[in-house]
Amino acid sequence: MTLEEYLDHLLAGEDEACLAEARGRAVDLDGLHRLYVDVIQPSQYRVGELWEGGKISVATEHLATATNSYVASMSYAPLARATGGGPRALIACTPDEMHELGPRMLADLLEGDGWDVDFYGTSMPVRDLIGAIRERKPVFVGLSAALVMHLGSVKRTITAMGEALGAEKPPVVVGGNAFRGDGELWRQVGADLYAADASAAVDVLRDLKK
């Protein structure tokens, strides 16, 4: 099935056809990486573009997003490994950021790579994020932003982490649609690392496990 064919099923709300394609690809962790990066991420970007261009309704956009989320969860479930004992990672969205599919996929792939992942989902308040870091002591923190207007929020979050935690602040990796198209934005928000997609992030973060 091509990406366009997958997209057609997605927009039609044909979740079982999407899931069948996904399960055919995600037969192992490598396949799951390719499913997330080659199918779910680009189809999700395409859904956003189609809504922006007036080609699909808000309802269709929500249906497609929910279907992709379902497909990702159902594809990961058979491959999920028991966590515990691995290095800890903390993944969250910055305040007001409501798009969680991307960081959710990163959390899945990191768990597959042996990390013990705390995934906090959307719109994590800064004070609570800092409290979670103090309590859980992750090796790194991953922050996701889908909308460019949230870049300032990413920087404010990282700055607050530095002020509160000092030398104890873990490295921060950033990603998400807000960083697409400008290779230097991640530096401007004060991050330590950047990856263009969830699979690339797993590679980038592997060095921190040592």
Binding site: E52, G53, M149, L151
Partner: protein, 132 residues
Amino acid sequence: MSGAMDDFLRDHHDAIIAAVQARMKGDETMGRVAEQRELSESGLSGQVLGFTLEAIRSDLTIGSPVAMRQGLRWLASLGAGHGLPIDGPALARLMDDVSEEVEARLDSDALRTEYAAYREQLGPMIADAFPQ
């Protein structure tokens, strides 16, 4: 951005939005867009101004107008795709209203200088996003 500017934009967020909404009341473009989107005029202007102020705050925080630039391009694309009567002059009026309400509340020369430098970039960004 200075911490003082960040504090200022956070603390005056609601007052600036309310003041600009009062200025925009009866704006023909906003009224037509609201009608097409089946929103009240105040509901629409509240959303638009919330995004606008967040983009300004983000740009001043990271020291680059990337959020406003991309936001304007997105708005142009959205307007074209959905047949909304959004154009450069309407956006320029909105940005002028926002900037005047921001500047009216700034209480130091340093903040006024910082905002003035940012405001100078708004016209060219609108022209880029909405070419005549």
